[in-house]
């Protein structure tokens, strides 16, 4: 809990920094705050994970490990933001504050033990994001994205709330353990409860951008500022997945005969929709948006085939995906700064001018494509394994076909960087500031380390 309180206070402090024009101190303070929060989580590792605050939140290993992952990724994104926000607006303190508030929401979702906390967490996370997405006030695309995101988000929250209500109506409790006791205790679960499951499923699928509830993702991801997109597609998504997993693994396992077919259909549709649409994109950013849909499909394997190892599979996959996304969006910021476009063509000939940038981006792409010796492969292997443990080989074959499609469009970027000549005869490389170099290098190294020896994080869960 210390971490959540620290970060909430930190957000407010940063607002005051903005007020008193202490812009230089923003980033260091934010980073120190994040480190303190990680410290709080680490110190909680060995305590007994009992629900606290009347069963509102629980800090078990699942919550702690994913929370640390969220904080680390936020830290990397904040490091990338140093110059990025400055070019967009005078009031940069708002960005830091809003991102931190959104992070607080994500951390709450990670550790909820009561539907009230799930709802509050998701709302804190989303409300901050509605603003962040539309923060480029004069940009039409950004406004549109914000509007879309807000309407869709509000809509899906409605589903979620309605689902919670129905489940409450059937069981008389918001508490996860209470709900589990209800499911295990009664001989026939009330039809209201089933309706609740379906509505919650819809609401959560909206949040993670799974098909057929994915229509907002491409436009919102495309319209939002790149760094916000990277925050949304990593931290926010991870948190929603943890919420999803926690609900299904603690409460709904006994009812899997009911929801498995539904979720399985969603998984398959998500995989194919994401991948096939990503294949047709000419913009790198949109490709990443659609590919994030397909990655949601892979991550859903951990939930649809829920077992004791679901958490660790998801942790590896989420880490791999987030690290690669940070690299991809970071590289896109640098490239876009020069060419002004986020099409694949703007990556042409990057390897000649900036071999380092091309290398780290290639590592990220290989990781997203799931090629061995990168973290993405380990994640995919564990997810495939998860699916195989519960279902037959057909699902696995479908997943493999999707992985093959994925390779094609991820390779597109690599091909453009290494094998195509640059459009303009610019000899100079990009000006890459030190913090970009550090962040992207760290992310790439972590990708390789996780790919070679995933036990570094697996031993935790």
């Amino acid at each position: 809990m210390g971490a959540i309180i620290t970060l909430s206070i930190l957000g407010i402090i940063l607002l005051y920094f903005g007020l008193y024009n202490a812009k230089k101190a923003l980033l260091p303070t934010a980073l120190i705050g994040l480190l303190v929060a990680i410290g709080f989580y680490v110190s909680q590792w060995n305590t007994v994970p009992d629900p606290i605050f009347n069963g509102m939140v629980v800090f078990d290993h699942l919550a702690i490990s994913f929370s640390i992952l969220c904080i680390v990724i936020t830290g990397l994104i904040l490091l990338l933001s140093k110059e990025y926000f400055r070019t967009m607006s005078e009031h940069i303190a708002e960005y830091y504050t809003l991102i931190l508030f959104s992070l607080v929401g994500a951390l709450l979702v990670n550790c909820y033990h009561n539907f009230a906390m799930l709802f509050i967490g998701i709302e804190i996370m989303s409300v901050a994001l509605y603003i962040l997405v539309g923060i480029r006030k004069n940009d039409l695309a950004s406004n549109e994205a914000s509007m879309k995101y807000f309407l869709m988000g509000a809509f899906s929250t409605g589903f979620l709330l309605f689902g919670i209500t129905l489940m409450y109506g059937a069981s008389g409790t918001f508490d996860l353990v209470g709900l589990r006791n209800y499911v295990n205790g009664v001989s026939a679960v009330s039809p209201l409860f089933y309706g609740g499951i379906l509505l919650m499923l819809c609401g959560l699928c909206f949040k993670i951008g799974a098909a057929p509830f994915h229509f907002w993702t491409p436009d919102v991801y495309d319209g939002a500022p790149i760094l916000i997109t990277s925050f949304m597609s990593t931290v926010v998504k991870i948190a929603c997945f943890v919420g999803f997993l926690r609900l299904f693994s603690t409460v709904l396992v006994p009812l899997d005969g009911f929801w498995t077919p539904v979720l399985l259909t969603i998984v398959v549709i998500t995989l194919f929709t994401g991948n096939i649409t990503a294949l047709m994109q000419s913009s790198f950013k949109r490709m990443m948006a659609y590919s994030s849909i397909s990655h949601a499909g892979y991550m859903l394997f951990a939930i649809v085939a829920v077992s004791v190892s679901s958490g660790s599979s998801m942790l590896v996959y989420a880490s791999a995906y987030s690290l690669a996304s940070v690299i991809a969006f970071g590289a896109l910021i640098l490239v876009k700064r020069r060419t002004g476009s986020d099409n694949f063509e703007s990556f042409n000939g990057l390897a000649k001018r900036d071999p380092w940038l091309a290398l780290v981006l290639s590592i990220a792409m290989f990781s997203l494509a799931g090629i061995p010796l990168t973290a993405g492969f380990m994640g995919k292997f564990m997810m495939f394994n998860q699916a195989m443990g519960a279902f037959n080989v057909t699902l696995l074959v479908l997943a493999a076909i999707n992985a093959a499609i994925g390779v094609y469009y991820y390779l597109h970027v690599v091909v453009n960087m290494y094998f195509k000549a640059p459009a303009a005869q610019e000899e100079k490389g990009l000006e890459i500031s030190a913090n970009y170099k550090v962040v992207l290098t760290i992310a790439a190294l972590l990708t390789i380390v996780l790919g070679v020896y995933p036990d570094v994080i697996l031993s935790f869960l």
Binding site: V393, Y418, F419, P454, D455, L458
Partner: protein, 483 residues
């Protein structure tokens, strides 16, 4: 110095070091040094290897504890010849590039690929095998697409996606097998002793076979191969043809046969037919080729068809023949592609029609080229003879007609290879080339060709050098898996 792990690690370290070598001259000297060092490290294994059926120099580390996966490596008589081939060819392949100026990154990729290839050959658990399998693909893709010619981007995209698709099929099969084994393991020993029902083995067979067949390539999965070989840089072609495609054949022997014997029993005949079709088809197409590299590419499909047929005949002669022929084929294609590259550098063309009469100007080249051609068509006292003899004997025991049609490769091979030689080296010089100079091979070129030529003769006279290594392991494998 018989630590297999160090043998695997050196190319990775080499790749890291080489990627920092900016200057082309330093890069190639460094690359040669690393490749020679690696070869030197291989020799103790050869001396200390006891030619029995056991797995030697074993090492095992726990890798992913929560999944119970370990990193398990070791050598037996089937993998040792291929490890020798890989590490023996590598210094030669590096040497062949001495006439050109490649950056350090080229050699880094070559060195990294060596790691992948070695891991494939020494892996005793399927997880490490798969990692090596893929780790070999990435560097060769970059080598071919960065330094190739022609429509290199699309050709290599096809190559990559095609082979990656095959690998994914194998990955599906591996994940399935992992969940089948009682103790959740991907160890070779555990997978080989799985008792799977017939229906399962049937689809497992195809999942593995297609992955391997794309790599080898077996007809009709070969469509990526001629273009990729033709438009890759010479070094890349040598890596592809000399070593990489042996991964597929090795995979058949090591993984497919023990895991899915029922599948092999059910579909072995289909594969034999595909191999024979491939042999005849590729040989006929090889006749018509105008581009020298394409000609060798198609002849390679024919040769590998015979080797694969030898594996599927599943008897001592067939398997022994396929193992020694893999080594032979590696030696001869590296030599032949090098000679083509030499002539291309001197004349600026790869079209056979524009060549001719170089024997008069370059007698050393003419003799060595002739020796390699003889080896490739399997003349007695050259290495190809014993390999093809054993293969045909094995296939004959499997079925007479397969041997009859498979044997056509010898006749076809002799015809198109000798025609190729005649066109290139004999007859009149091409028009306008009478005055121009055509240097004979010298320096590093001569060294490479002499080394290869020596082994062509050595293995022709003393094939037991290889056969003795593998015999016990092959017999053991045959006793283990009977159809």
């Amino acid at each position: 110095m018989d630590n297999l792990f160090i043998l695997l690690l050196l190319p990775v370290i080499g790749a890291l070091v080489l990627s920092f070598a900016k200057d082309a001259k330093t890069a190639k000297m460094l690359a040669l040094l690393i490749a020679l060092l690696e070869f030197g490290l291989t020799l103790p294994f050869l001396y200390q290897f006891i030619p029995d059926a056991s797995i030697q120099f074993e090492q095992q580390f726990l890798w992913i504890a929560s999944l119970g996966l370990s990193f398990h490596i070791g050598l037996d008589g089937i993998s040792l010849p291929l490890v020798l081939l890989t590490n023996g060819l590598m210094p030669l392949i590096v040497l062949t590039s001495f006439g050109k100026s490649f950056k350090g990154s080229f050699y880094a990729l070559v060195s990294f690929m060596q790691f992948g290839l070695l891991l494939v050959f020494v892996a005793l658990d399927a997880f490490s095998f798969y990692i090596g399998w893929e780790a070999a693909l990435i560097p060769i893709y970059f080598i071919c697409a960065l330094w190739g010619d022609g429509d290199r981007i699309n050709i290599n995209l096809k190559f990559f996606v095609y082979t990656f698709f095959g690998s994914l099929l194998m990955l599906v099969a591996l994940v399935f097998l992992y969940n089948q084994s009682a103790e959740k393991s991907l160890e070779w020993a555990a997978l080989a002793s799985l008792d799977l029902d017939e229906g399962t083995q049937r689809w497992l067979f195809w999942a593995f076979f297609i992955a391997f067949a794309i790599k080898i390539p077996v007809f009709p999965f070969h469509t990526w191969q001629p273009n990729t070989y033709t438009h890759a840089p010479a070094g890349g072609t040598m890596l592809l043809a000399g070593v990489m495609l042996k991964m597929g054949v090795y995979g058949l022997i090591r993984w497919l046969m023990p895991i899915a014997p029922f599948g092999v029993m059910a579909y072995g005949q289909i594969v034999m037919v595909l191999c024979v079709i491939g042999i005849v088809y590729a040989s006929i197409i090889a006749f018509k080729q105008k581009d020298a590299k394409r000609l060798i590419a198609y002849s390679s499909i024919a040769h590998l068809g015979l080797i694969t047929a030898g594996v599927f005949s599943w008897n001592l002669e067939g398997l022994q023949g396929s193992i020694i022929q893999m080594v032979n084929h590696g030696l001869s294609v590296v030599g032949l592609f090098f000679i083509i590259d030499l002539i291309q550098d001197r004349t600026g063309t790869r079209l056979i029609a524009d060549w001719g009469g170089y024997a008069a100007k370059a007698p050393r080249l003419a003799w060595l080229f002739l020796l390699l051609i003889m080896g490739a068509i399997g003349l007695p006292l050259t290495n190809g003879f014993i390999g093809e003899f054993l293969l045909l004997k094995g296939i004959f025991d499997y079925g007479v007609w397969y041997a009859v049609f498979g044997g056509l490769t010898l006749i076809f091979g002799a015809v198109y290879m000798l025609r190729f030689y005649k066109k290139a080296m004999l007859g009149p010089l091409p028009e306008g080339a009478e005055q121009s100079s055509f240097e004979d091979v010298h320096g590093y070129e001569l060294v490479v060709l002499l080394v290869i030529g020596f082994f062509v003769l050595f293995l022709g006279v003393w094939p037991r050098a290889i056969l003795e290594l593998s015999e016990a392991s092959v017999v053991n494998l045959l006793n283990q898996i009977k159809f």
